[in-house]
Amino acid sequence: MNDFSAAPNAALDARVLDLLVGVAPDIDPAAVRADLDFRDQFDFDSMDLFNFAVAIHAAFGIEIPERDYRQLTGLAKCVAYLRSRLPQL
Amino acid sequence: MSASVSRTTYREALRGALREALTADPRVFLMGEDIGRYGGCYAVTKSLLAEFGEERIRDTPLSESAFVGAGIGAALGGMRPIVEIMTVNFSLLALDQILNNAATLCHMSAGQCPVPLVIRMATGAGRQLAAQHSHSLEGWYAHIPGLRIVAPATIDDARGMLRAALLCPDPVLMFEHIGLFNMEGDLTEAAGVADIERAAIRRTGRDITVLTYGASLYRCLEAATELSAAGIELEVVDLRTLRPLDDATIIKSVRRTRRALMVDEGWKSGGLSAELGMRVVEQAFFDLDAPVMRVCTAEVPIPYPKHLEDAALPSVGRIVAAAHAMVAHEP
């Protein structure tokens, strides 16, 4: 499950979306727009963001400095950030 | 002033008040049927003839209209007569004198002719005296402007109300319940003049204000003790003065308890309890938490047989039941 190096690239969006829903089960994943910030779409707050960061950290095994949190605030941004941190994805 | 008390009876307290009045003021004299040689129908004036003589303790003919009228004349003439009518039942023979003369002359003379008359009379039922001798008509008299109506229920009031009545410029009718004459109790020697402007709260409680007077007071207090064990606390108000009513004390208490129960020996229809209930509704409607209720005498001429008379009169059981109904706990 941690072996994301083996995950197909096409599945990365879906994987991040899964983590997002795990953190915020009250949102509808089908309605998430990749280009918008979570906050603007569904009242994502700092605790949600924190939990999301924790989930990313656990799932991908990367340390995320606090200053990078701002790159996790939307689906497309997050995927781009993960690719920059983990080029093998 | 000493706060010492002495053991006495309601009857003796009344007699003590009469003796004091006769001693203190030469204008005071007593007048009535059988009050001299016989000592009064209820023995209140016993021995006073020997002490004060025939001029001041005057036996009258059996004509209530005549001797009440004579009393009014004496009061107009500057005396301080105390007239005893055996019972309220016979006072009806003097009703014209009381209502049309005593109550009105001061007003019709623009205050020139006050009638400082005191009329004492026994009232109430419970002694198997049957329908013609068991009336409680003080509520009727309380209907009449120009009169002051008092009803001493305690020994201190029996002793202290007469002096207050003699100080009053208007005619005062004092109703003494026949069930109280033999009541024993402590007289506060320092009690002095009773305040006939104010009702007295004889027992405080949070749940129901009970408005009563005279002998009914003791049934209410007994019911209060019984109800207290069931968690219902009665506040028992002794009205003391039935006209004018002490609205301030009554309404203040009702506002606190939010419930009012009237207990008296009159009949409900057009009675004093009806008046009290209406005042409560007029002045404290938005503070009420239950309908006002009354425990009064059954609407029949008072029966002679003991069990029927008891059933007709307000009883502790009926007061308890009414209280339970008002707070919705079944007895």
Binding site: A24, E66 | L288, D289, A325, A328
Partner: protein, 408 residues
């Protein structure tokens, strides 16, 4: 020895709840704190805990039923003779005590009260009319003042008349037997909006709020937090909200008059500070579950519990104890760039602390202007309990604690 386990009141705004699921079966042994049932309220699905040890004797309400607060749900065999309090003491002393004062049969068995059997003894009673709402004049006046809907109260007076006491029980956020309440139109979301409306309306009507505001330089706290988080992996980091919660809780423990409940009899200080934290529900709505004894917990523990709370608010699994036990509340709009907020006290609490955003602002330091992260802290407090001077001291304590983040 049997006692009733009743639908608890989870706040002044709760009228009824839907039993979603039993977590116990007859015969099961239950320990204090165990989740006994799931109940759906305007605030979502709440895990209802037992407050005593005992054995489940019988379940009297089936899943799916929506019943008023106070309705017996089950019979327990236990040691306690008194009905179970709905909340742990002393977190909600009065609320717990009040639930104990609702006798089992009180106000329910009204029909047939005045049977004619003892006509000579009892006093004649008027027959109750079928439709018209029966409430005493005093109850009507009080209900109007409190904004309480009389139609939802089961009266305890003669013939089921709603009395002043019944109204005050509801108004005082105390559970009482009520008639079945229909699901509010518009579903749970509208229900939550109604609940907030009721609580906040009551607050504005009843509580004489006073407001104080204090701005502070958060540079030391921000520096400390940045350094703290830099050294730690993501899961061990703290949010600034945790510092705010702890600082407010410490101040409340030090300055009496801000943690507790205002009851008809007056202010009841709480023995511990259970800090309610206002958590927004996505799409609108708000709940304020409690972090128990927040003044005594480490920042890491508070962070962990806050994380857990927010997660369960999102997922709808709050516990009955935490939803009804707050003795004081903090609220923050830090995410939105709002400078200052003027919060509304959640009755019967007596204070609420509002935190604005930490924003870079000009700040005078030793005669020079510098750009500093500035936080506006507001206090809304109940003037029946405290005055501005105490409020100012309370706010100053919060500031002093935040100025020394290492000691939090």
């Amino acid at each position: 020895m049997s006692r009733e386990f009743r639908m608890p009141s989870l706040g002044a705004d709760m009228e009824a709840g839907t039993l979603v699921e039993w977590r116990v079966v007859p015969g099961a042994r239950v320990r204090r704190g165990d989740v006994v049932a799931l109940v759906e309220t305007e605030k979502g699905i709440i895990d209802i805990e037992s407050y005593e040890d005992g054995i489940v004797e019988r379940l009297t309400v089936a899943p799916g039923a929506r019943v008023p607060v106070g309705t017996p749900l089950a019979l327990f065999q236990g040691e306690a003779a008194a009905p179970a309090p709905e909340m742990p003491r002393p977190a909600a002393t009065a609320a717990a005590a009040s639930s104990g004062t609702v006798p089992a049969a009180h106000g329910i068995a009204v029909p047939g009260l005045g049977s004619p059997r003892d006509a000579g003894k009892t006093v004649a009673r008027a027959a109750p009319s079928a439709q018209r709402l029966r409430a005493s004049p005093a109850a009507r006046v009080r209900a109007a003042a409190l904004g309480v809907d009389l139609g939802r109260i089961q009266g305890s007076g003669p013939q089921g008349v709603v009395t002043l006491q019944d109204v005050e029980r509801i108004g005082g956020r105390e559970p009482a037997p009520r008639v079945a309440t229909p699901e509010p139109p518009g579903g749970a979301r509208a229900g939550m909006r109604n609940a907030i409306a009721a609580a906040m309306g009551r607050s504005k009507r009843e509580i004489p709020h006073y407001y104080l505001q204090l701005a502070m330089d958060m540079q030391p706290a921000v520096n400390w937090l940045t350094a703290f988080n830099q050294e730690r992996p993501v899961p061990e980091r703290l949010l600034i909200a945790v510092l705010l919660i702890k600082a407010a809780a410490l101040a409340a423990a030090e300055k009496p008059g801000f943690s507790g409940y205002f009851r008809p009899a007056g202010f009841e200080p709480a023995a511990q500070v259970h800090m309610g934290v206002a958590i927004a529900v996505r799409g609108g709505g708000l709940v304020a579950p409690a972090i128990f004894e927040a003044d005594r917990k480490s920042l890491a523990t508070i962070m962990h519990e806050l994380q857990d709370l927010v997660g369960r608010v999102r997922a709808g699994h709050m516990r009955s104890s935490e939803i009804s036990s707050a003795t004081l509340t903090v609220t923050s709009l830090g995410e939105e760039g709002v400078d200052v907020l003027y919060p509304v006290i959640y009755p019967p609490q007596v204070a609420i602390v509002g935190f604005g955003s930490v924003l870079e602002r000009p700040w005078a330091v030793n005669g020079r202007l510098e750009a500093r992260p500035v936080l506006n802290i507001t206090l809304a407090a109940d003037h029946r309990v405290t005055d501005g001077r105490q409020g100012a001291q309370f706010l100053a304590r919060i500031r002093d604690h935040l100025a020394r983040p290492g000691e939090l």
